[in-house]
Amino acid sequence: MNASTFALSRELPRVSAMPTGRLFGAYLTEAKYESIRALRAPAFAIPFLLLPIVLYVLIGVFLIGSMSNGDTKIAVTMFVNFATFGVMGPGMFGFGMFVATEREQGLLTLKRALPMPPTAYLLAKMLMTMLFATIVMGTLIAAALAVGHLRVTAGQFLLIALIEILGSLAFCSIGFFIGTRASGKSAPAFVNLAYLPMMHLGGLFYPLPKSAQPIEFLSPAFYLAKLGLHILHAPSLDEISFGAASPSSHVGVMVCAAVLVGVTLLFGGLALRRFQRLA
């Protein structure tokens, strides 16, 4: 470091715009380190990267497969449902826990005081979530190809991966909403309060009794799974159990997409409003 490092002009410094390349680089660097830190955090990376593949293979492939005598339709259904389960966690916990903790421990305030590009913080977390969702989808597709007995084309796999990865943004919004309101210590509890019912009452792992099926309509997970099932022309677990009489069988592609976009915008908007007031 030479002595001229801090040499200054004699005039009031002009506010200088960042060159576009450096600005883009700042967004990328923020996303890169957000992803690296999440991958290095065992309490985050291990459950959200390993659990989906382990549960899919154990339950979705071997357990359900042995009970259904190799029914390929159920195999596709279980693949989509476990994919949905796999992409929910990183968004909800990544935003819910990290935002709450960083807000409470002053990192968010420091980043706001520093010249971090205003949207870099949120974009970085979204990209981190999508990276996790991509890894989850990659491992699930690999497992499905190896042991899943699925009749699905490469194009369909890519399409379902894209839908699940984009669908993870709805869960980012919910996590973000919780993260802007809960304390660092209470955030995991609040995220679990949303995550567990959403997962279990969304019809991902077992069909709900017919009378209880309307509860599924409250779970964004149900709509993401249903969207994936439409794409792959596979029935939901409700439909497998109750046929076309299942209330959830009437939910179409556009409804699923509209609900997911609506959830993303509603919770994201509410969270953003709160986030902008935080310092």
Binding site: T5, P19, T29, Y33, R112, A113, P115, A279
Partner: protein, 297 residues
């Protein structure tokens, strides 16, 4: 706002519910000076800095950085910040933390250069979460510097540092100021302000109760300290009208006096064998205590 004023609060008031944090506060930080903001807990120091950095908005008055709104990210690209409580991502290594923050600035120094400047090269590959409290402060200091800021905000920068690390940080701060940077420092260590600051402002109840150079602040306290070796008894000395207090230890007699010159004359007249006479003005700590006591409820 003149060309030389790099940060300014002008008639700023800020209230949190019923609590008045700042009450018509005026502050200016000029180019190339180290400005120390002192005050008891709850005086409004952190709020003042938050307003200058655009983290909060004033209820009344204006906050300016380089003549611009501090809310503009372009303005803050001239600023480095070290906060008292900011837990950086524990999973990232030190050089990664620096690489990340440097990416926010148009013309930053390299992580290696920032670590050299703050003597943290040995920590480069250590995860931030595994560092000691003092090491974390040093890394936060490197982060504050890495964007080559014109203006540095340092909130209690030397808390938790050992003597050697503190001396090194002081030396870097002096160098930065000599090279034209400005620094706003809040500290509980008054000796730190005494050693480093060009100007000091003392806040109490959201107002500036005194500001000026360290010498000007000391001069606000009239009393002086006199020490000497003498055969005179404490009881006798205490009867003199200008003596506020007197005590004795193995070094000799110690007197606090409003009019030191008059007491020295009486001492010399009463004891012709008097030795080791020393007269000291009040330190910044004493000035601070006196000033803030005056505003205490």
């Amino acid at each position: 706002m003149t060309q030389d004023c790099w940060a300014e609060l002008s008639g700023v008031s800020k209230r949190f519910g019923k609590v008045v944090a700042l009450d018509g506060l005026d502050l200016q930080v000029r180019r190339g000076e180290l400005f120390a903001l002192l005050g008891p807990n709850g005086a409004g120091k952190t709020t003042a800095i938050s307003l200058m950095l655009g983290l909060q908005r004033p209820d009344a008055g204006t906050a300016r950085l380089f003549g611009q709104s501090p809310l503009l990210v372009e303005t803050r690209r001239q600023v480095g910040v070290m906060m008292q409580e900011a837990a950086l991502a524990p999973e990232l290594r030190v050089h990664e933390q620096l690489d990340l923050v440097a990416s926010y600035y148009p013309n930053p120094m390299t992580p290696v250069a920032a670590m050299e400047m703050t003597h943290t090269e040995g920590l480069a590959d250590r995860p931030y979460g595994k560092l000691s409290g003092g090491q974390k402060r040093q890394v936060q200091f490197a982060i504050a510097l890495c964007g080559r800021p014109k203006l540095l905000f340092l909130d209690e920068p030397t808390v938790g540092l050992d003597v050697q690390a503190r001396e090194m940080m002081w030396s870097t701060l002096r160098r930065l100021v000599n090279e034209g940077s400005s620094i706003i420092l809040t500290t509980h260590y008054l000796e730190e302000a005494e050693v480093l600051a060009d100007r000091v402002a003392v806040l109490a109840k959201g107002r500036t109760i005194a500001s000026g150079s360290v010498n000007e602040m000391r001069a606000l306290v009239v009393r002086k300290h006199i020490s000497c070796s003498t055969r005179l008894s404490i009881e006798h000395v205490r009867t003199w009208p200008d003596v506020e207090s007197a005590s004795r230890d193995h070094h000799g007699l110690h007197i606090t006096a409003g009019n030191a010159e008059s007491v020295v004359r009486e001492l010399l007249a009463a004891d012709e064998n008097l030795q080791d006479l020393e007269v000291r003005r009040a330190g910044l700590a004493e000035a601070f205590t006196e000033l803030t006591q005056e505003t205490a409820p």
